[in-house]
């Protein structure tokens, strides 16, 4: 998508976020995009027809006003659920491969290889890092807001969102965005003093300054742009927090841009001083979530492209299916596949990818036990685990409970007393009755048998 559109929409969202309650903003505006600016008309993509109706009815005026602040030509806003000018998800190939072989799905969450973020000191002699730029940052619904905010910040440092606070789990692109901001600001105005540091570095510098009895403050307080990664490590370090507080105030007072990154939002960082917390939430707080499937595929394709390698869609899809939360791992897996292919002179295809990823993908030996059945059944019917194992006897709970009994009996071949025990010590005759009831019902009622089918599918994952 066009960067300009993202920037415009980012600022509109920023405004709306202030006006609306958190729940309303999350429900109605998440996943919206500015699809097109066409003369005096703005076309906004909304994820579904319900959102379209609601936004049209309730937020139209606010959106129009916010857009007009950025682009005064706009007099008309339209909403669409069709992703026209927005990049579309990669289409599955339409040859025989689109029906793929069953593959074991990786259920294991990979441990984060918490590779220490490299950071550079960049006083005036900022060295741009070519690797991380805005144009090689793949956007999707998971990171759009953060991306637009970062762009805006790099265009007008200190003016729009100050501080900009980005948070999200490891390996989703926080550092990439920090670098992209630094690079972009540097490219626009090489005279800007950009200071990029991790909070750990900040702490160390602070400590060593104390030890040597030097004046600490100077170094950070002369920056035009201060970017600090992994802010969460400052938690619990009281003296450092105090020092940071003063640095922050000094910079903020002179409209110097501050960008912070953390693995969680300010309010969830334990033992963070209240005055710092409120300052972090002052400007813009944007989250970056793990990328969705399409974004992961796009990342792989882009990465392969930068290695001048043609990657088959089925290989990309395979890798993206199996590594699902961490971009660093995603790229690591691709690098491994490429290395393996060069080493053995084999083409990059699905079987090579399967072989290389074998070490990543733990065969899913899903252990299904009574508890899993209860959990999945409860989840399927959207009731709580406590309800299903409890004693409530309303229909919307009894039926799921009996379905769970039936599945435990049929699939796990558990004894009636054993099932009774797992359900919090009911009488075993209750179980016999429940199993029998669902058995007859599932034979006659297709809806019931489909429900059971779906739950079984959930069980084997």
């Amino acid at each position: 998508m066009d960067n300009k559109l993202q920037t415009v929409w980012g600022s509109v969202l920023g405004e709306l976020e202030i006006v609306l309650s958190q729940a309303n903003f999350q429900t109605w505006l998440k996943g919206t995009e500015l699809a097109k600016l066409d003369g005096n008309k703005a076309i906004i993509f909304v994820p579904n027809i319900f959102t379209r109706q609601w936004i049209q009815d309730k937020y139209h005026q606010e959106i129009l006003n916010a857009i007009r602040k950025v682009d005064t030509n706009i007099s008309n806003v339209e909403y669409t659920t069709k992703k026209t000018s927005v990049e579309t998800a990669p289409k599955p190939k339409t040859d025989d491969n689109s029906i793929r072989m069953p593959i074991n799905k990786a259920r294991e969450k990979y441990s984060n290889p918490n590779s220490g973020q490299s950071s550079i000191e960049s006083y005036g002699e900022f060295r741009p890092n070519e690797k991380y730029k805005f144009n090689n940052f793949i956007t999707g619904s998971s990171n759009k807001l953060a991306f637009s905010a970062a762009q805006l910040v790099s265009e007008k440092p200190g003016e729009m969102y100050n501080p900009l606070f980005l948070y999200g789990p490891a390996g989703v692109g926080k550092t990439h965005l920090l670098w992209a901001i630094s690079n972009e600001i540097h490219a626009r105005d090489p005279k800007m003093k950009i200071l990029y540091s991790t909070s750990e570095e900040f702490i160390n510098t602070f400590l060593s300054a104390i030890r040597k009895g030097e004046k600490f403050t100077n170094k950070y307080r002369v920056a035009d742009v201060l970017l600090i990664d992994d802010m969460q490590f400052i938690a619990g370090k009281e003296r450092t927090q105090e020092e940071f507080f003063h640095t922050f105030n000094a910079l903020h007072q002179y409209n110097k841009q501050i960008v912070l990154c953390s693995d969680r939002p300010p309010k969830e960082i334990p033992t963070l001083e209240e005055r710092l917390r409120s300052r972090f939430e002052w400007g813009m707080v944007a989250d970056i979530q793990p990328p969705d499937f399409e974004t992961r595929v796009a990342i792989l394709m882009n990465k392969a492209n930068s290695h001048s390698i043609e990657l088959n869609m089925d290989v990309a899809e395979f890798v993206a299916t199996h590594i699902d939360n961490n971009i660093r791992e995603l790229e690591g897996a691709l690098t491994k596949i490429i290395a393996q292919s060069r080493l053995h002179g084999e083409p990059i295809d699905l079987s090579l990818a399967q072989e290389v990823l074998g070490m990543y993908i733990q065969k899913s030996q899903v252990k299904v036990n009574a508890k899993t059945v209860l959990e999945k059944t409860a989840a399927y019917y959207e009731i709580s685990y406590n309800d299903i194992t409890g004693t409530k006897r309303s229909r919307d709970i009894v039926v799921p409970r009996q379905v769970a009994m039936f599945i435990m009996r049929e699939e796990l071949s558990l004894s009636f007393p054993r099932i009774a025990k797992s359900l919090g010590g009911k009488d075993h005759t209750t179980i016999m009755h429940g199993v029998k009831k669902i058995k007859t019902q599932s034979a006659n009622d297709s809806v019931m048998s489909q429900d059971i089918q779906s739950i079984k599918k959930l069980l084997v994952g």
Partner: protein, 365 residues
């Protein structure tokens, strides 16, 4: 709002609407049911923002109005009341329920907070026998993917063109397709989310009507089932060009009794408990042999008589997929077609003559 209403009508409507309500939504009002008068009827609606349901019921309306009430609360209350007729009196923020002995007041949320249901932009309308459409959908639902990461596969392909209706579902490992004659002036091709179809099937079961009407818009679909209307988003995207995968002919074709096959697969499944549920089908002379083994459990062989044409064959397949498919086939006799052991396996009910086709991708051994 002031209305008088039969409890049994209200109960039915509340139960229909409650199914869509999720208590986990971040927006509180989505856990509510919208109750509103429309001239001389009462309308109840609920939505989870993927689909919405509206159901009408007869009532004596004395004063018009609307309010939204927490679905769970309302459901529990109405389900346990033994009155015959109730009076509902509501202002913008709460509703009083009065019966001969009961008097309760429920806190609600103003109806203006409740999502407005999308207005349908289309008039493309088609009608179906509810029994027939239900049967057809049921046959393809089992093959649809439950993995939401590829939305297209978590939907059912629905098309009408040149006098034929086609329904298809696949999770990329197996596929089911139903064709039937249907004359319509309008050509239709869309993907309906499977969750919508499941709701539709439920609705057909509870509404007991002979005919349903489907209205298809550009990005939404609506089903009129008796007094209820289901509105859903259509899944955007291009459905995989699955036609190419369905083999036109097979080098091995067998005909066998469905019940015998069901039993044999069930027995084999005992020894196919690994994640792939793999069993081997071997066709020789007039016999189908099902082999299953698990190194730490044991192994099993079971044979059933079949009528074979073509050459001998052997193929590895997921036993669960066969069971799922056999459970939706009504015929007494099924036809199984096999080509190479890496090619898709075909299962058809004998009487249907390719108007009902199921295929399963084999396991690579």
């Amino acid at each position: 709002m002031k209305v008088a209403i039969k409890v049994k009508n209200l109960l039915k409507a509340v139960n229909i609407c409650s199914r869509l309500v999720s208590s986990r939504s971040s927006l509180e009002v989505l856990g509510n049911i919208l109750i509103e008068t429309d001239k001389n009827i009462l309308k109840l609606s609920s939505t989870n923002l993927d689909l919405a349901i509206t159901t009408k019921l007869g009532a004596k309306v004395e004063k018009e109005g609307k309010i939204s009430i927490p679905a769970k609360l309302l459901g529990e209350l109405i389900n346990s009341i033994s009155e015959d007729t109730l009076q509902l009196i509501a202002d913008d923020s709460n509703m009083t329920i009065k019966g001969s002995g009961i008097h309760s007041r429920l806190n609600g949320v103003s109806a203006s907070e409740f999502p407005t249901l999308p207005k349908l932009t289309s008039t493309k309308s088609i009608k179906f026998s509810s029994e027939e459409i239900k049967k057809s959908f049921e046959k393809v639902v089992a093959s649809v993917s439950i993995d939401e990461s590829r939305p297209v596969l978590a939907g059912i392909f629905f098309s009408i063109s040149s006098g034929q209706m086609v329904l298809a579902g696949t999770d990329s490992y197996r596929l089911s397709e139903i064709k039937s004659k249907y004359d319509s002036k309008e050509d239709i091709s869309c993907i309906i989310p499977v969750r919508t179809v499941t709701e539709l099937l439920r609705l057909i079961s509870s509404e007991e009507v002979n005919e349903i009407e489907i209205i298809i818009g550009e990005s939404e679909i609506s089903f009129m089932v008796g007094d209820s209307q289901l509105i859903s988003q259509l899944t955007e995207g291009k459905y995989p060009d699955y036609q190419k995968i369905i083999p036109e002919s097979t080098t091995t074709t067998i005909e066998c009794d469905k019940d015998k096959l069901v039993e044999a697969v069930k027995v084999s499944s005992v020894f196919a408990r690994e994640s792939s549920h793999g069993i081997t089908l071997k066709v020789t002379k007039d016999e189908l042999t099902l082999d299953a083994q698990m190194s730490d459990v044991g192994e099993n062989t079971i044979k059933i008589p079949v009528k074979k044409t073509g050459k001998d064959a052997s193929i590895n397949i997921n036993a669960k997929y066969i069971t799922d498919i056999l459970s939706v086939i009504n015929d007494k006799t099924v036809i199984i077609g096999i080509n190479d052991k890496l090619d898709p396996l075909l299962i058809n009910p004998k009487s249907k003559d390719n108007s009902e086709v199921h295929i399963i991708m084999p396991l690579r051994s």
